[in-house]
């Protein structure tokens, strides 16, 4: 396995949970609801996935447990903000705090136990192809699901009638309501979908990324996913770019720290110079680089103000009470 392939595989693993969580939150926000509970839902998915896999011995059972737990947990949020019309920001934050606490409590018995790993797929012949075999045909199943999900959500939102309906709910819930669209029902569904995706992202962390349960193991990835959605101006393919850019720079900066410049003398001059410059930077700056670069690039992509306003769900975060 060449170095480039090894790096790309690591990047894909780092980006997948961000992509999964962000694509779910994108659908939620497109329906006009801001759910700040991503971190909490991910943790619930991670602990449920880990526990179910450990108990049954099957990683796939863990994956489904993560999805279902994430969805159920998000319905708690949905009930509060949609039916009881509580403040979305406060409720979302509460969901994160609750998720951190409850997952820690449930997970107490799982701490210090090696878990069950979701194995990478292997297609005889194809997976062993040089350079691209492992990358295209030999990764963990959730990687493929995350890519399909991104394409699926993009297609659903912009190419189907149901997607148009969902976006209309997010843009103007009163108009949608006046047209007879069931705003609350659609938002319930969107929130549950977002919860399922966050739960799946959590299961990725505890079944693929690091096969173990540790309290608070998301370490802020839910918040990064939330930020990606906004900086990508609610476009699925830009979320994909953002997640991979973030993953790529997080991994590359580690390699820059670890590499020995003397071994890289064969590289073309400008590239070598760039690497040498980067290596001379303090590691604190390199650690911050994924955040800086991702924000910078996504802001550049989304610099067209008119299009950005068009993409922003106008009813985002606003409470809706149907007037009969």
């Amino acid at each position: 396995m060449g170095m480039a392939e090894a790096i790309l595989l690591t990047i894909a693993t780092a980006a997948t949970p961000l992509l999964l969580a962000a694509i779910g939150e994108l659908v939620v926000e497109r329906s006009g609801v801001l759910n700040l509970g991503v971190e909490g839902m991910m943790l619930m998915g991670a602990v449920a996935g880990f526990g179910a896999a450990l108990t049954t011995g099957s990683a796939w059972v863990g994956v489904f447990a993560g999805i279902i737990t994430g969805a159920l947990f998000s319905l708690l949020f949905a009930f509060l903000v949609l039916t009881l019309v509580t403040n979305q920001v406060a409720t979302g934050l509460a969901l994160t705090l609750l998720g951190i606490g409850v997952s820690g409590m449930i997970g107490e018995a799982f701490v210090g136990q090696p878990g069950v790993k979701l194995t990478n797929i292997h297609i005889p012949g194809l997976s062993d192809l040089p350079y691209v075999g492992r990358l295209l045909f030999g990764q963990d199943p959730l990687f493929y699901i995350s890519v399909l999900l991104t394409v699926g959500v993009a297609w659903f939102l912009f190419r189907t009638r149901a997607g148009l309906t969902l976006r209309s709910v997010g843009d103007s819930h009163s108009s949608a309501h006046a047209l007879g669209i069931r705003v609350i029902a659609i938002r319930y569904a969107a929130i549950a979908f977002g919860g399922a995706c966050a739960g799946l992202a959590g299961a990725h962390l505890s079944l693929v990324y690091t096969t173990q349960w540790i309290e608070n193991m998301t370490a802020g990835r839910g918040w990064i996913a939330l930020a990606l959605v906004v900086f990508a101006s609610w476009r699925p393919l830009r979320v994909f770019v953002g997640a991979y850019l973030f993953g790529a720079i997080s991994i590359l900066q580690l390699h820059i720290q670890a590499m020995n410049l003397a071994d890289l003398a064969f590289l073309p001059g400008p590239l070598y110079w760039l690497l040498a410059q980067l290596k001379s930077l303090p590691s604190q700056f390199l650690s911050a680089l994924p955040y800086l670069a991702t924000v910078a690039v996504l802001v550049l992509i989304s610099r067209n103000r008119r299009l950005t306003i068009m993409n922003t769900p106008a009813s985002l975060g606003q409470p809706f009470v149907p007037d009969r």
Binding site: M3, A6, I7, T10, A14, P17, L97, L98, I100, G101, V102, G104, M105, G107, E108, V111, G112, Q113, P114, L205, Y209, T210, T211, Q212, I214, E215, N216, M217, A219, G220, R221, S250, I251, L254, H255, Q257, A258, M259, N260, K279, S280, P282, S283, Q284, L286, S287
Partner: protein, 366 residues
């Protein structure tokens, strides 16, 4: 089960930010029962650094006579910074007799709060500031264990190169890297160490990424100064060897872990809480190592007998006080001389250590 239930309840309570639930208990009058409070930087379920501190707290409670004698309260995952000061102050107000702040980054917060609560005893781990008479500092000479690990690494590595996942460029961490390198060079003078700074104490994903990057860069031994078990698992997946951190992580790498430095805080916590009960608590600065039983090596596993023997010899030499890992001649990374033949580094220099010794393949972030 009851303690687990109480612990779980308490955790939930804290998670829901129940600041109102903190009761203001009486002052430090009767000392038949003391309240000992602990502030942890990570979750107690990290199975590493914070976990070991909590194990020490529980051991102390058991040693002294259970819940009737000592009440324990703790806050976990407290960020280093402004939040720490609030957490410590809250404990000071809530009737704690002694507060253990267990991370380097709590240093200034601990000293600030200590000035406002002269009757409460404060103990700060791994720091060096004692601005008030009611602040003590305590630490363990983890570097002694790192030296032994270095000896093992140099004997085991075929690549002649180990990977080191570091957290933050503070003296404690730099000291560990230097000791590891010195241990390795005592076996193989050309041994190289690649350092990757994760800039976090606890992020399993990032620690795993760092481990993968190091393996891809060609190291075949990994050691870490971050708190999760993730690097051990990656080493296991990639079929190389690794050292555990803070606690015995053998479960995560039965065929991978060579040994681990185990932090044993129980004896120290017992001694200090007893001192508060007896009224004999005095300010001090304790830095115990293998000799005092603060630093314990997990069993030497997954290595041939001759390597095990070399490790045991190095450990015995340090334990008896016969040998200090920071004994000259030692050259700094830039080639200048640090310690002359036979010269031993002063503790004050070690506690402010901000340079590498020769052989580290990294530039120290300043």
């Amino acid at each position: 089960m009851t303690t687990q239930g109480t612990r779980a309840m308490r955790k939930l309570l804290f998670a829901l930010a129940a600041s109102a639930a903190m009761l203001v208990a009486g002052g430090a009058s009767a000392q038949e029962k003391v309240k000992a409070c602990f502030i942890y930087v990570g979750p107690i379920g990290d199975f590493g650094y914070s976990y070991q501190h909590h194990q020490g707290a529980l051991e102390m409670q058991k040693n002294i006579g259970g819940e009737d004698k000592v009440e324990i309260a703790y806050l976990e995952s407290v960020p280093e910074g402004a939040d720490a000061e609030r957490a410590i102050e809250r404990f000071a107000r809530s009737g704690c007799n002694i507060i253990f702040a267990t991370s380097f980054g709590f240093m200034d917060a601990t000293n600030k709060v200590a000035g406002r609560f002269p009757d409460v005893k404060f103990e700060h781990a791994t720091g060096f500031k004692r601005e008030h008479p009611n602040v003590s500092t305590y630490n363990s000479r983890f570097y002694e264990g790192r030296y032994v690990q270095g000896v093992i690494a140099a004997k085991m590595s075929k690549a002649g190169m180990a990977g080191y996942i570091a957290s933050f460029p503070i003296p404690e961490v730099v000291m560990g890297i230097d000791a590891f390198v010195l241990g390795a060079q005592s076996v193989n003078p050309d041994f190289k160490v690649k350092v990757v700074w994760a800039n976090t104490w606890f992020d399993p994903g990032k620690e795993a990424d760092a481990a993968k990057a190091l393996v891809d860069q060609g190291v075949d031994i990994i050691t870490q100064h971050t708190d999760s078990t993730a690097p051990m698992q990656i080493a296991h997946e990639r079929g190389i060897k690794a050292f555990g951190q803070a606690s015995d992580m053998i479960k995560f790498g039965p065929e991978t872990q060579l040994t681990s430095i185990v932090d044993d805080w129980g004896p120290y916590y017992t001694q200090q809480v007893k001192a508060v009960m007896d009224g004999t608590w005095k300010q001090h600065d304790v830095w115990g190592g293998m000799k005092e039983g603060h630093v314990v090596m997990a069993p030497y596993t997954n290595m041939p007998d001759d390597v095990k023997k070399a490790a045991e010899e190095a450990e015995a030499k340090i334990k008896s006080g016969e040998f200090n890992p920071f004994t000259g001649p030692i050259t700094k990374q830039d080639g200048s001389e640090w310690l002359k033949q036979g010269e031993v580094a002063e503790d004050s220099v070690l506690l402010g250590l901000n340079f590498y010794v020769k052989g580290v393949d990294d530039k120290l972030p300043q």
